[in-house]
Amino acid sequence: MGQVLQGIALTFAGPKRWRTYGVALGLGTIITAFYLVMLPSSAVGGFSLIALHYLTPGLALAAAALGYGFALALAINAGAVAQRNRTAGVVGVGGLLAAVLPGSLCCTSIIPSLLAAFGASVPTILGTTGKIASIFAVYEGGFIAASIAGVALSIVLAARSRAATCSLPTHQRGSQ
């Protein structure tokens, strides 16, 4: 935990810290705005501003956690010039994508269209669409929780990597 905090502190230290603050805040706000619409969109069957009517405090918090969390992970990773943690990036992006799934795949025409594109017959489409789409409806909360966990993990991985890099002597950093 100490290493994670140290990694975060290192990211926002130094002469370029205001630029880092600005980029993290700006990017975080853009991603959060997207998720403020995306997370409640399963209630209206697709990405639409009308979804904002169905935004709950819990979903708003989740959107902020995803948006600012991912921006933080990115800022930490971007600052770790000597040793960027690729795993952190993959986990963070995976988290962001997982949060998009319920709103885009449940109750939209994407799944039946994909089934049709793969040559499924009408009875197969009518008997299979629900089996797939309902997973995203039933486990929507789980998908969002997993996404937040993914983003949190990417922060931890990036911050630990950043702190570890900075604790190395200068001549060893160059060889990383």
Partner: protein, 175 residues
């Protein structure tokens, strides 16, 4: 190279077959008459085409596990008096077998909407497999048809929670 060619050929054939299948399974469109089905209702009665004839109505297909269908039902519930005042009926039908994944069921879905769900201009029932294949061959959830008093489809859309304005416009302008 030969293997690549045969993969490309097979893929093309598959997509053509899928495309042909999708074209063959077109649901009724705007300007066409709505299919004259008799629907099985939740209370055990049947809704015949004669009952609907002469009234504009919204024929709406839902799955009971679908959150946008539940939200849409709540939106319709909040406007059911308005629809009734304009003589518009809602025919909300559960897709056969909930599109392959049984949800909580129509009775539970109906109950969650509250008292408005029992409005006399709101019919609740379940489509047979044949009706589902005819009305919604593409397996879209939350799809609805706006049908005028002459039984003609005026518009096909989806997600009443997101498109309520179109239903309200239909209610005030439908012949």
């Amino acid at each position: 190279m030969k293997a690549l060619r045969s993969i490309a050929f097979t893929t093309t054939l598959l997509f053509l077959a899928a495309f042909a299948g999708v074209l063959a399974a077109e649901p009724p469109g705007e300007g066409q008459p709505a299919p004259a089905f008799t629907y099985n209702l939740l209370d055990g009665s049947r809704l015949s085409p004669g009952t609907l004839h002469g009234h504009p109505y919204v024929l709406w297909m839902v799955a009971t596990w679908c959150p946008s269908c539940q939200t849409g039902s709540n939106v319709v519930a909040s406007h059911i008096t308005f629809l009734r005042a304009h003589g518009v009926r809602i025919v909300e039908m559960q897709l056969a077998n909930d599109l392959g994944q049984p949800g909580p069921g129509l009775a539970s879905f109906h109950k969650a909407v509250g008292k408005s769900a029992s409005s006399p201009n709101w019919y609740w029932g379940e489509l047979t497999e044949a009706q589902t294949a005819a009305l919604d061959p593409k397996g879209d959830m939350d799809l609805y048809y706006l049908v005028d008093a002459h039984g003609k489809i005026v518009a096909v859309s989806g997600n009443p929670a997101a498109t309520w304005d179109a239903i309200a416009h239909f209610a005030t302008t439908a012949p």
